[in-house]
């Protein structure tokens, strides 16, 4: 084992760099916490309606939020929905949104970007012009238009965001591949008669994947933000669904309490809000650490 595979050595070095970075440690800790909460949600907050565990249980319909008590440790929001339950199951919703949107976007974007960058020519021209068109409208605005056409709902938001977000990955991967395509090791593989698919998968993608990883990690957060804003506006999850954005929307009329105690209902906004911020922060910290770890200028100094 004296001479290990260079790729393995490189991976070990990268992991070492990531672990030494304090922001990565905080990021991964937060992420592990959220992943644990999402995984054990049925144990932490047992669902009242087993057929639809994502609906927050509520006792009564009074619109005025109630402060934390023994039965509702984070209090109840408008409509008497239990905030603790919503926060716990909202973690699952957030992971669902992030993984679905980023997964589809990466898959589509990487495929198109690789094809476009590697083959060039007319295919490249067609794919890039379509990307240009998608590029002209801001993510949120285009996603809103698509959601309106498809109808409301969290699943529609996820589809709309995935339909919009792939354009980033096409551009990033294509520019990476353009610099790799003409390098000696790719040419060598070509002369040896390796198939195009194999060249892309074995030789090009492993060298071009880092920016995609960084982008994907940042996107996990920003997609949750965008989705929660759309839920906040009222395009997403139905009332009472365990979604942090929707919980903020429920609390919207209670940001200012009665005159003698204006911050009376702080928990209705701060708790779901903190969940969103911490979740996004975890991904951004990881993305930031990945950027440092993969930056060739900072490597091996």
């Amino acid at each position: 084992m004296s001479q290990r595979h260079p790729r393995l050595r490189e991976l070990k070095f990268t992991l070492y760099r990531i672990i030494r970075n304090p922001s990565a440690v905080i990021g991964f800790t937060l992420l592990l916490f959220f992943a644990g909460v999402a995984l054990f949600a049925p144990q932490i907050a047992p669902p009242k309606y087993t057929y639809n565990p994502y609906m927050m249980p509520h006792k009564g319909f009074s619109p005025t939020p109630k402060p934390p008590s023994d039965t509702n440790i984070f209090g109840t929001t408008s409509g008497q929905y239990d905030i603790f339950y919503g926060a716990v199951w909202g973690t699952r919703t957030a992971f669902k949104i992030g993984l679905f949107v980023v997964g589809i976007a990466v898959l589509v974007g990487v495929t198109l970007g690789a094809v476009s960058g590697y083959f060039g020519g007319i295919i490249d021209e067609i794919i890039m012009r379509i990307t240009d068109i998608m590029w002209a409208i801001p993510t949120l605005v285009l996603a809103m238009a698509i959601v309106v056409a498809f109808g409301r709902g969290l699943d529609k938001i996820m589809i709309a965001l995935a339909m919009v977000q792939w354009r980033w990955y096409v551009r990033v991967l294509r520019s990476e591949i353009l610099t790799l395509r003409d390098q000696d090791f790719v040419q060598a593989a070509k002369t040896m008669g390796v198939s195009d698919l194999k060249i892309i998968l074995r030789h090009i993608l492993p060298n071009a994947i880092y920016p995609i990883l960084i982008l994907a990690s940042m996107d996990m957060g920003s997609m949750v933000i965008t989705a929660s804003f759309m839920s906040f506006v009222g395009l997403g999850a139905p009332k009472g669904y365990s979604d942090w954005g929707q919980m903020v929307a429920l609390a919207r009329n209670y940001i200012v309490g009665p005159p003698d105690d204006p911050l009376k209902f702080w928990y209705t906004i701060v708790i779901p809000g903190a969940c969103i911020v911490l979740f996004v922060l975890a991904w951004n910290l990881i993305g930031d650490a990945l950027r440092d770890a993969f930056d060739p200028k900072l490597r091996r100094r």
């Binding site: 922001s23 012009r129 379509i130 240009d132 068109i133 998608m134 590029w135 002209a136 409208i137 801001p138 993510t139 949120l140 605005v141 285009l142 809103m144 238009a145 698509i146 959601v147 309106v148 056409a149 498809f150 940042m218 957060g221 933000i225 929660s228 804003f229 906040f232 506006v233 009222g234 395009l235 903020v248 919207r252 940001i255 200012v256 309490g257 204006p262 911050l263 702080w266 906004i269 701060v270 809000g273 969103i276 911020v277 996004v280 922060l281 951004n284 910290l285 930031d288």
Partner: protein, 343 residues
């Protein structure tokens, strides 16, 4: 250079054409019955739906309806806005000044503050200044605009009774509605109209209403600008001309400000297009939370009422702005750095 600009102009029209087809395609996913239903207001009229489809040709092939739509657009007819209860074109000009006003105040702060902080972090790399700005950038990046706006509103409006939401205080807007002869809305922006009409109380009042929106906006958008500036400075400081300048005895300030910062501004120009898109998205959240009736608020409100003509109009408008901005930036880029050959 000229050939490049011509090519880009050609591309501009291509992109706009593509965007319009895309938007129209989204609209056409509605069935003809569903689109006809927007003309119907009571259940008794439901039997008119087939007649409406016939009358407006809603079941014609895609390209026929598309050409018809483009013809109407070029005549300036963009449809009817439910939210504004007036034609889309007219409503657009009513809402635009409010958004423009906020951006006019926020953009200079974002640009100057971002460049200043980025330079500071880049020069003092790996010191506490750098670490603090880095943490601030990541946190700013992680803050959803709408949430931050809500918390600001909770603290400043709820707790301290300062800076109420909206564009203008109630008594002043009532005054303006009651006395149309005493206050002429030249621009639609109250800060400027106040000065033009000699009513400085209105200017001050609308400025007070701008403080929280601008603050939200700056804190959320400035991070990108700052990080790009920082990496630009670090990149420039490692170059040979900086070493030469230092060797020739130029003092720190000259090297940083005159040499490095000027060159580091280039990457900032390249992300300006992205900043623009971010500010468009940001203004939606800010306007919704602070109840400022601008383009972003109109968009969100129309989306919840499933008002497709408005969404299409705004998407098209943003597409035009975005494409033209990017074209301008590309040309500007060539001027700032003559080494970049545009082909």
């Amino acid at each position: 250079m000229l050939a490049y600009v011509i090519r880009r102009f050609f591309l501009l029209f291509f992109v706009l054409f593509g965007v319009s087809v895309l938007l129209f395609g989204i609209l056409m996913t509605f069935s003809p019955e569903r689109r006809a239903a927007t003309y119907v207001s009571s259940p008794q009229q439901a039997k008119d739906i087939p007649r409406i489809i016939k009358k407006f040709g809603l079941d014609d092939p895609f390209y026929v309806q598309y050409v018809r739509w483009i013809k109407e657009l070029s005549k300036g007819n963009m449809g009817w806005s439910l939210v504004a209860s007036r034609p889309v074109g007219e409503a657009f000009w009513r809402y635009l000044p409010v958004t423009l006003e906020m951006n006019l105040f926020a953009a200079p702060i974002v640009i100057l503050f971002g460049i200043w902080l980025g330079t500071l972090a880049g020069i003092h790399r790996d010191t506490w200044i750098d670490h603090i700005t880095r943490i601030l950038a990541i946190v700013g990046w992680s803050l959803p605009t709408f949430l931050f706006a809500l918390v600001l509103l909770m603290i400043f409006y709820g707790h301290f009774q300062l800076f109420s939401p909206g564009v203008l205080s109630d008594h002043l807007s009532i005054f303006i509605i009651d006395n149309p002869d005493k206050f002429t809305p030249f621009t639609g922006m109250y800060t400027i109209d106040g000065i033009l009409n000699g009513r400085f109380d209105i200017t001050l009042d609308s400025l007070a209403h701008l403080i929280l929106p601008v603050m939200t906006y700056v804190i959320v958008v400035v991070a990108l600008n700052m990080r790009v500036m920082r990496s630009g400075i670090i990149e420039e400081l490692s170059k040979e001309y900086v070493t030469t300048a230092r060797a020739k005895g130029a003092d720190k300030k000259t090297v940083h400000i005159k040499h490095a910062r000027r060159n580091a501004l280039l990457p900032v120009v390249t992300v300006a297009g992205q900043l623009m898109a971010m500010s468009m998205e940001g203004s939606i959240a800010v306007e919704v939370v602070f109840n400022r009736h601008g383009i972003g608020w109109w968009l969100a409100e129309s989306a919840t009422q499933l008002d497709m003509p408005v969404l299409m109009c705004i998407c098209l408008f943003m597409g035009v702005v975005f494409v033209i901005t990017n074209l301008t930036l590309d040309i500007l880029y060539g001027y700032i750095d003559p080494r970049i050959r545009l082909t």
